[in-house]
Amino acid sequence: MASIPQKVVHQYLRHNKKFPHVWCAGCSNGIVLGAVIRAIHELQIPKDDVMMVSGIGCTSRMPVYVDFNSLHTLHGRAIAFATGIKMVKPNMKVIVITGDGDATAIGGNHFIHAARRNIDLTVLVLNNHIYGMTGGQYSPTTPEGDFASTTPYGNIDEPFNICQLAMGAGATFVARGTAFHALETQTLIKEAILHKGCSVLEIVSSCPVIYGRLNKKGSPSRMLENMRDNSINIKAAEKLPPEQTEGKIIRGILKKDDKAVEYYDKYTQLVNRIKSKNK
């Protein structure tokens, strides 16, 4: 009998952690984790050169399970820690994993300033439209009219569009994927990691147990089908009149600017300038 084959993903998991992981059945966080691992595997980046940083939340438990350098920090502060790491270890691939609440509510400030500085981080925002871990409070990305435990009559706030927010703040690579389009998302993750500068990738994901139940979105597979049916690739969308793409999730690379100088490079230039002056 041949030995049991091991999936590539299994080689990257921390073997001293308890599996199956804590996420609920059908939670798309696991799908995205698989895509992240496969992307890093395909890029052939050694495990020791990857730094995965997260805040607090369901999504933010991701680095706990993978055998990279990992940092599970404070709610909303992942980008602040990641900035510090990048300045000290500029050659490390620093990947921030964050939830919608983590990135745009409590951590909104860090998020926009990392984008403004164009520091070489890869920020993956898993947008499940709710605070999953703490019982379903509404987040800055909960769509208008949707239910959360703190909006029992429907949400009246206008939601953030994470990609537009990142573009407006100055991130030089901005893209959007979904958990259902796992292969496409894997390619986007690769592009985001390879881009030098602040890359923000919003991954539309699903929380079937809290957001799904409160909003009657159906089974985990039904929620993934929704992503399939209600999204469109940017290349296809560009060919259609705007009425036909209204309300759809636009997937793909929305902004890519290779010319802007990265923050650590600017810092090195500054240091060199001062050193040469003082000689």
């Binding site: 009998m1 041949a2 030995s3 049991i4 084959p5 091991q6 999936k7 590539v8 993903v9 299994h10 080689q11 998991l13 073997h15 308890k18 599996f19 199956p20 992981h21 996420w23 609920c24 059945a25 059908g26 939670c27 798309s28 966080n29 696991g30 799908i31 698989g34 895509a35 259902f180 796992a182 292969l183 089974s219 985990p220 597979s221 993934l224 089908e225």
Partner: protein, 106 residues
């Protein structure tokens, strides 16, 4: 390394073996064929949370679902090794890949 193989009532082979790297996977069930190379759909039942995603998105109807939600290999010959189940399983609990050098590393 402990190794135990037996045929269950469903005609599936139950393997018990120390997973390389101490993974806590004890039961790996493959389909009805005696030769796992021929019909390589593996479900790691210890990790499966019965969410039904693999069954819903398998394009060929190779997988089926029991009344309690457990996925199983219903029509092994139908698998086209598209790896959809591999990619969409949130628990890394199933693989339909044929390529032992690709996603498999057995």
């Amino acid at each position: 390394m402990t190794k135990k193989t037996e045929k269950s009532r469903d005609g599936v082979i139950i393997l018990e073996e120390d997973f390389p790297g101490k993974m806590e996977v004890e039961d790996v069930i493959v389909d009805a064929s005696d030769d796992p190379k021929k019909s390589p759909v593996y479900i790691f039942y210890n990790w499966c949370k019965k969410c039904g995603i693999c069954v819903a998105f398998c394009p060929t109807g190779c997988l089926g679902r029991r009344a309690d939600g457990t996925p199983y290999v219903k029509n092994p010959e139908k698998c086209i090794h598209c790896e959809t189940c591999d990619r969409l399983c949130p628990d890394f609990a199933i693989t339909g890949s044929k390529d032992k050098g690709g996603i498999f590393n057995g």
